[in-house]
Symmetry: C2
Subunit: 875 residues, 2 copies
């Protein structure tokens, strides 16, 4: 009847991640595999949800269950919580289904107080160890449970070290640490007006609550939004018997990957510190040793660890990221999980594991996060420019890629500058979870401290952002806004460049060149192509974009926005002349000037696409977008056009709309001014005939797409114009040319009446940007203001403009697909909104049975992989 | 196999109106009933549609069929088309399913040419008659087939009369008319560069084509739009043997109603002219005699006519509107149809016919057009003001009602002025179908010429617009913009008032008083209430409106727009203070000022509604609507608020949105500023408790409506605020109070996810204004510009903001109803968009199973009747 909220590690397994979180499930699994895991138990994710349902309190039932399991843990460990004679200390760690760096991570040594610490000192005969553990505990508890600024504690440590005249923490002796404990507790009381909690049970419950609370801190929310994690998942809490890496020189702690997470090389990769606790390694305060060196220092533990690594990788069929501690020579495993890796590493590992017969191609395809490919698709440094550039420092190549941007010193600054359209490199002493948003928008990250597994390095790799870490030669002055290297000053706003693959820092902007798909990448993408059912097209308005997209594997163009061609050079003049026209004749005269330019645009695109299908959308935006808005531009334009300023102003104000998004645009323009559609049809058809003449092997079949249809009768009207003009030209030119007329489905009514519309439309392309706006009833341009409130208050978790809202917008899409197919069984169905490049949305497109997705050129490989994964998932 | 496109009258009956049109079906029916109807045949509405399908040509098949039936007609009539020795002349008349004054009406005497006219003269021994018929034919053919301006022909007649020194047409003799024929034909040739067609077959086909064409002239399209007639219906054409009312003094022609169409009195009512053709009566050129006088002049024909009237009324169970001609003492029926009548007459006739056991109450309810009631709901003259007002003229009371407005002299001017918000009275020599739009927007119509059945009178009664006709004492100068009565000048823009029930004209603005429901109206509305299933509520924001609505039968309020209360008096100051607030505290301070005002508003409304349900919608519009836009108002407000102008400007520009319709409004405001929803909840709940204390018998149950919900989570958030505040107050006050929280369904996504939303919402109210905007993807404020192109090009026929778009928006509504009921079987469902007062939309609401409709107070009786009709129709 009553729900079970706590599980011993020995009760769980890897399939219980929903309940136990990733960390808890994997600890249980390792225990099942007979690996050395310290005893412990997991408070479930359901307990977390119950905590929130109960108004952020742990109810009596769960409370009692936790302490019942603590009793079992005492029995397993043969120690007693809070008993100075034989004390049990525990770690408390968060653990959601997916690893979430935004959340509370760890409290070690919980259970210590002024009595217990003495017991520990006596039992271990190691007073220094006992007080070192105690001061760490106070520090961590204050930080993660009470949210006292941890840097304040660092300041106190610095003071004690300074007073003693030493530099390293390790140089502090037991008495110094005792002194530190007193100072820490005093500071705690001064800050919080209460004593540091001495009751271990109280400590435990407060720590568990803190983990639950951390599920909803701002960083965690941001991380979830970015990574598509629902807030309903909740986090589990792992309570585990402490083992100590800081008990002496035969102790240590470390993290390692079964393969190199940066390059993918099949070689154990990691770092460790002797006589330290876990936080020392990841915090990057002391520079750790590489895992190879463990072989010399603790050969037995090393051998055991290597064996475990092998078993874990085979077991999970994936590269593992592990934490371990060595206590008096004995190895303990504290965590394993599928390791984060760079895109290049991910591809190499996937290909290698297939070659090693460890996994199938399909499993390989599922192993790479499509979004991650993005980092491989962006420019790298131009070789020549790189040779000429001056290296000002070399540090750890923490996350590969090439970054070039202006220096900023804080996450806020990074956000602000990028919002102004600038590219920035974030330079920090070390990064912390608070910086996550700023890291996300930066081109690259450069840190003074920290190793390959520091916060900056791990997060940057996850994001696919270039990172160079541990650059000790930098003398940084964040507040003052500059740093120096070898005496030379680099100020906020100066350009620097980073090479995340070599760790080199350049004191200038270095030219970059485009990426290409080759090697493992190419091999992997071919597997994806063999597997997927969805076609992948691109949105491209220029031959240059089209060529790029084809290089990235695009099979056609799903959206040419003809209006983009209207802005260039001389065209805008003719376009404006058309808009200012008072009669149809004047308009036709202006359109006649645009025609040859538009035709040559289309010819260029047809040439670039070499016979692949191209969907051309007719003029879409409201006409006022082509006219200037500010006074001096209006003045100038009036002069250019040789009309009265007031006349031009009348035209502009006549075009003003209260809600232009829902105004005179799309097919409504073609209905008011059929001559525009006539000109565009002439351009499309003449271009196709001309290119077909030059390349008869291509057999171009123009696809003409009429935007913003809401009723069949609109399409009938515009299609009539198109067929009339097209058929005339084809007859006149005695050409053989097939063409298709279709529509965008971007207005809710079009989706609702898709059966009728399909009577006329030969294809549909879902314009999910507009469809989302109208289905939600908010404009993308304006929603920013209130959607931030929505995310804060957890009303929405996802940006519906980034990912198809499957419940609402998706329901309309499904309806339209079914209705459209009912009328026209072979109707071609695509998507050309920005959602076409989003993996989750692509999976949705696959499931509802679209023919293709269309996305920006740089998203094409991502879409190819996402489409393959969708096919595999559906089985 | 092949379709039949032509039917003899003897082949048809009254049930074939879809095929034969109303006129054709009724002619056939009268023939079946053995009444004297001249022989003829009907070219079907399907032939009209085929004409358009064939690119506006009559195909050979239909052409041949027409002439085959003409042959039969010749046999029946024993005359021959185009044969001077024994000529058959015909009338050609349009006849759609519904009577449509916008269309071509009639061509008489078709078949005449220079030879035939001589034959007629000889046969009838009446040269004057022959040439009078001929000149009429040329005039009518030129006008309706060739679209030559008919006033040009009037000018020629005037010239001839002037030359001869006579005043009346009847004073012209045969030679004058011969002369006229020559002049007409010369003018015809000069204008059209071709001879007047002398071949009767050619005349016939061109006339039939003209009828078909007239189906799509601008007036017909406008009339259809106004009266909800689909363009797919098409019109039929009736070709009928001529009988002549202009053959001498034993001949005549007239129109009559079986009851008085103005008052409903059960007494034959009509007019006739001896020695005239039909057009003379309706055109109002000669002033006709009343039908009573026919008793003396042609007693036999009169008796026969009276008997036929009785039979027709019993047969059709409705008041009939008939046309007849007397040829040499013999009565012929040329038309019968259900007569148009004023709203008062409609009610009296309905009630009388029930009392006469002629019809059932249900039939009575179906007999009155709901929209017509509108004319009874608007003000009439204040008795006292009326006594003091000076009558400047008295003429025919052509359509009842009280009108007061500024003088305009053309339809265009009427449209222009009313668009500027002014009320106008249209003064015309006589009106014509071209004036229909102008008549529609005018408060009243005053004509110098024409009787009770003139164009102006008939159309005004149909529209429920006040009309005084035949006001001969006016000396009108339309072009110069003034008229004089007894030497006094009334200029364009001066105020006059018309009493359509007495025919009195007042030379000033006369005060009006509100209407009330009593007598027949009250009795009739009670029948409607007994019959209908749908409840009828009102949209009202003030106690005054609420009281008015209750008088009109409202059973509750479906929509209180709380923001309307925000604009009044001192409140706007506090509202602005709230908007300019920078912190939640400041905002709360301002809201505290609004609270007592808002509460007293709600108390007022609860008092007015005396316990009837009231749905209160929370703040909906974007906040910028409460701030000034122009520079001097901003300056003034800044001074008032004692803030810097620049600060205020920053606030205003911060609130600017690109698409405010889709911006920060509705529940989005409550989510950003929960304190607004808190204040509104406090006001609603405290008001309900206070009024319940004063009137415990009412047991008020507040219905709180959250606008613009697109996702359940939004409703959860706002509902939490509401229940929290409400429950606190109820507990504090120790009151017993139930309240409901519901939502508007006005965003497509809400309709799509209505099952989820119904988990939280206790009621739905469809906000069809916004739902229509977002489903169609056009903004009501902006659509005017392009929708006119849509109507012109026949892409849309209906204004989706006036009538629910059943195919698209209606599909969403149906879906939401089904989904909502699935979750919550007893969910209350209403509509509060402006469609709630539109009869067709109300029928739709009934069919999909809504609980109530809500409309403006003046629409309540209309809605009550429409709801009853919907219930009857569904059976």
């Amino acid at each position: 009847m009553s729900k079970k909220y706590v599980y011993l590690f020995s009760e769980g397994n890897e399939n219980m991640r929903e309940l136990l979180g990733g960390k808890g499930a994997n600890l249980a699994e390792m225990m099942n595999l007979g690996m050395p895991v310290p005893y412990g138990f997991t408070v479930t994710t359901e307990a977390c949800n119950q905590y929130y349902a109960d108004g952020e309190t742990i109810n009596q039932g769960i409370h009692d269950e936790i302490f019942a399991y603590l009793k079992t843990l005492e029995e397993q460990a043969n120690k007693k919580f809070g008993d100075p004679a034989n004390p049990l200390l525990v770690s408390v760690r968060s653990g959601a289904r997916a690893s979430m760096p935004g959340m509370m991570d760890t409290i070690l040594n919980l259970g210590l107080n002024d009595e217990v610490v003495k017991g520990i000192a006596e039992l271990t005969q190691n007073e220094r160890f006992a007080y070192d553990s105690y001061r760490r505990f106070i520090q961590m508890f204050s930080d993660v449970v009470m949210e006292l600024d941890k840097s304040k504690f660092e300041v106190i440590i610095e003071e004690v070290k300074k007073a003693k005249g030493v530099e390293l923490d390790t140089e502090l002796d037991a008495d110094d640490l005792k002194d530190l404990v007193v100072r820490f507790k005093t500071f705690y009381k001064e800050s919080l007006h209460e004593d540091f909690p001495s009751d271990p049970s109280d400590q435990l419950i407060r720590a568990v609550e803190a983990v639950f609370r951390s599920w909803n801190n701002q960083r965690a929310i941001f991380y979830r939004k970015m990574n598509d994690i629902p807030s309903s998942w909740g986090t589990a809490v792992n309570v585990q018997m402490m083992v100590f890496g800081n008990m002496g020189n035969d102790c240590g702690t470390g993290v390692a990957f079964t393969r190199n997470p940066s390059t993918g090389e099949n070689k154990l990769y990691g770092e460790f510190l002797m006589n330290a606790q876990g936080e020392d390694v990841v915090a990057g305060i002391r520079t750790p040793q590489t895992i190879d060196q463990l072989k010399e220092i603790a050969p037995q533990a090393y051998e055991k660890f290597v064996a475990i690594c092998g078993r874990l990788e085979k077991h999970y069929k994936n590269m593992q990221d592990m934490e371990f501690t060595i206590e008096k020579g004995n190895l303990f495993m504290l965590q394993t999980r599928n390791g984060k890796r760079t895109a290049a590493a991910a591809l190499k590992i996937a290909c290698d594991m297939v070659d090693e017969h460890m996994i199938t191609k399909e499993e390989a395809l599922m192993m790479v996060e499509p979004k991650q490919l993005d980092s491989l698709l962006h420019p790298r440094f131009d070789d020549k420019a790189l040779k000429e550039a001056k290296v000002i420092a070399t540090a750890l190549p923490a996350s590969p890629g090439a970054a070039c941007g202006q220096i900023v010193f804080s996450a806020e600054e990074a956000i602000e500058k990028t919002q102004q359209g600038q590219k920035v490199v974030l330079v920090r002493l070390e990064t912390s979870p608070e910086d996550i948003e700023g890291m996300h928008v930066s081109e690259g990250i450069l840190t003074v401290r920290g190793g390959m597994t520091s916060h900056a390095a791990v997060v940057a790799r996850g994001m696919g952002t270039c990172c160079v870490s541990g650059c000790g030669s930098i003398d940084i002055h964040e507040e003052e806004g500059y740093f120096t290297i070898s005496g030379k000053e680099y100020r906020r706003g100066d350009f620097i460049s980073l090479d995340g693959s070599t760790g080199k820092v350049y004191g200038e902007a270095v030219k970059t060149v485009p990426a290409e798909i080759s090697g493992d990448f190419d091999r992997f993408m071919k597997w994806a192509d063999e597997t997927r059912v969805l076609k992948v097209r691109t949105n491209a308005d220029t031959p240059k974009d089209a060529v790029q997209a084809v290089k990235f594997g695009a099979e056609g163009i799903g959206l040419v926005r003809t209006e983009h061609m209207f802005f260039e050079g001389d065209r805008i003049k003719a376009v404006r002349e058309m808009i200012v026209s008072k009669t149809e004749d004047q308009r036709r005269t202006a359109l006649a000037k645009i025609l040859p330019m538009q035709q040559s645009d289309f010819e260029g695109i047809y040439e670039a696409m070499e016979g692949r299908p191209v969907t051309i959308r007719y003029l879409d935006p409201p006409l006022h977008e082509f006219l200037p808005t500010n006074s001096s531009d209006i003045e100038q334009l009036a002069e250019e056009m040789k009309i009265e300023r007031s006349e031009l102003e009348t035209v502009i104000s006549g075009l003003h709309e209260f809600n232009p998004m829902m105004g005179h645009r799309g097919c409504r323009l073609a209905i008011s001014y059929p001559e525009i559609a006539e000109m565009q049809t002439t351009a499309v058809i003449q271009a196709a005939i001309a290119v077909n003449k030059r390349h008869p092997e291509w057999k171009i079949v123009p696809e003409i797409m009429i935007p913003l249809i809401g009723d069949k009768s609109e399409l009938v009207f515009v299609k009539n114009i198109v067929t009339h003009v097209a058929d005339d030209i084809i007859a006149r030119e005695q050409a053989e040319l097939t063409y298709h007329v279709g529509t965008m489905i971007e207005i809710p009514r079009a989706a609702l009446l898709a059966d009728e519309i399909a009577e006329e439309a030969e294809f549909f392309s879902f314009g999910t940007n507009d469809l989302t706006q109208m289905t939600f009833g908010f404009s993308r341009d304006d929603a920013g203001g209130f959607l931030s409130n929505y995310y804060e208050k957890k009303i929405y978790e996802q940006d519906p403009f980034a990912r198809v809202d499957q419940k609402g917008v998706g329901k309309l899409i499904k309806m339209a697909v079914e209705l459209g197919r009912k009328t026209r069984g072979d109707i071609k169905l695509g998507i050309c909104g920005e959602h076409g490049g989003d993996p989750t949305s692509i999976e949705f497109c696959h499931r509802v049975g679209l023919t293709y997705v269309s996305c920006s050129p740089f998203r094409v490989p991502i879409a190819r992989l996402a489409a393959a994964q969708a096919a595999i998932k559906q089985g």
